[in-house]
Symmetry: C2
DNA sequence: CGACCTATCCCCCGATTGGGGGAATGGCCG
DNA sequence: CGGCCATTCCCCCAATCGGGGGATAGGTCG
């Protein structure tokens, strides 16, 4: 099975790579093997964030025109591919985006801009490690070529392991994650957190749980200390991000306020 | 390429499945095809959540002894496989766990307990969608059999798409796609919103944008009115929910506080 | 048993938010 | 030109949050 040999070789090489250049060399080889033309291994940080350059990985071999277009567009959050990465559990073809997210005019326009730069389709692998950056590994195809669907499982596997190698090389797992490991919350802290995330005041939460306002205050303060954050907004965002609470918890009951 | 045909067939079937039983049937077929014996498709639910039992998916075909052992061990958080799911961007073999996380005695003991129940090794695919849930799809091998490494990319692909199918069947992602005319925000409102989502106060945001505290206040009040919400927490959750802002916007710059 | 954690309640006080009011500037569109 | 909107600034005040302090009761674990 030659395809698997390629995958195996990439994974072994990636696990041994000591810097990004070595990894990108391997990745370029894999891109060719799997019938793609370009690759983008990126962390989804805001490009105008102060330390984006040092913190974020941005290895992109898209055509120059497309890279310039991406750079010019400041609102990273409108890119349909990046939005889909946050909404999908599995990898996806760009041509399937309308099945994953709503394609409003702005998003369609951004996708068309990529097409105009000589891209026919792409395949993006979401790589989300709770508590770290969001990331993705995209493989793109130049105009006139067709996706080899048989290659997609291999491409997805390679994409994940490429990211794993980046994490190892950058020691992201050590520096970012370990210190801010998902804190354990008690049942009562969780109760208060969910209700606080719904935007309710300490007083209101106290009514709903049948306890005093001070106790609610205490639970939320403790939760904040566990997360090492200062504000209730930060607490909610962090808890949502690492799935301590979910959008279903927060927005579900919204329609039937007590 | 017969292996790919199997994968393709599973993905197509999974995308069409209308209930969990149908999906689990497909999954059982895939498990055999890829040379495994057992499968576990699970949500890593927060045990504090009141409706954990009804919300969480727990499809497990492990040997009875192992399932009993898992049930008896109430501290789900100590399971090394579940911990590794939160620490790894890629799928992993259970025999590789020591390379991913620290194996303290407690964790080693839990893994050994699985071995004692007739499992030789396993392969776990993490499935993380920010804000939704942590999940994983594990394939396990009974004692005396060896992992077919060539099958791993296919197994990983199948694991992801199995979860994607669960999301579709359970309509987990649907609420996200429901767009009640996402309010348009102006550039300045967006700027303030991102910084507010980072937990900064009006005063701090004013410093960063070089405008007065009252103006920031005004922008955020207007944004809240557009979203028809009363609190800043609700505003941030809703804006995250429909991708007006992203976790990358909010958590990315957090590492480099101004 | 004592140490430790959890859950509960109470006090205080400064900082921040929420929600009103009004007003000036400049750009865009019909 | 006259609306309409975005952006900016200002005042006020009640409600809420953030962060201290301390206290009691119950459970677990060594």
């Amino acid at each position: 099975m030659p395809l698997f040999d390629d995958v195996e070789q990439f994974v072994k090489g990636a696990n041994r790579a000591t810097d990004i250049n070595e990894l990108s060399g391997l990745l370029n080889g894999a891109v060719e093997t799997f019938g793609f033309d370009h690759v983008a291994l990126v962390h989804h940080v805001n490009l105008h964030a102060p330390d984006a350059a040092t913190q974020a990985l941005q290895y992109i071999t898209y055509p120059d025109a497309l890279r310039a277009e991406m750079k010019a567009r400041r609102q990273l959050g409108d890119d349909p591919v990046l939005i889909a990465v946050q909404r999908s559990a599995s990898a996806f073809l760009w041509s399937d985006l309308p099945q994953i997210i709503d394609m409003n005019p702005r998003r369609t326009e951004i996708l068309n801009a990529a097409m105009a730069c000589g891209i026919s389709d792409g395949f993006t692998v979401p790589v989300n490690v709770p508590g770290e950056f969001l990331g993705s590994c995209s493989f793109a195809l130049r105009a006139g070529r067709e996706v080899k669907r048989a290659m997609l499982p291999a491409a997805q596997y390679v994409g994940c392991f490429a990211f794993e190698a980046v994490r190892r090389i950058r020691q992201l797992g050590d520096t970012i994650r370990v210190k801010e490991a998902k804190p354990a919350l008690t049942t009562r802290q969780y109760d208060c957190l969910v209700l606080a995330a719904q935007g309710r005041s300490d007083w209101h939460i106290a009514q709903l749980l049948g306890i005093s306002r001070e106790t609610v205050h205490q639970h939320i303060e403790t939760a904040k200390r566990r997360y090492q954050v200062a504000s209730r907004t930060q607490l909610v965002v962090r808890a949502l991000f690492d799935s301590q609470i979910t959008f279903a918890d927060v927005l579900g009951p919204q329609l039937s306020p007590d």
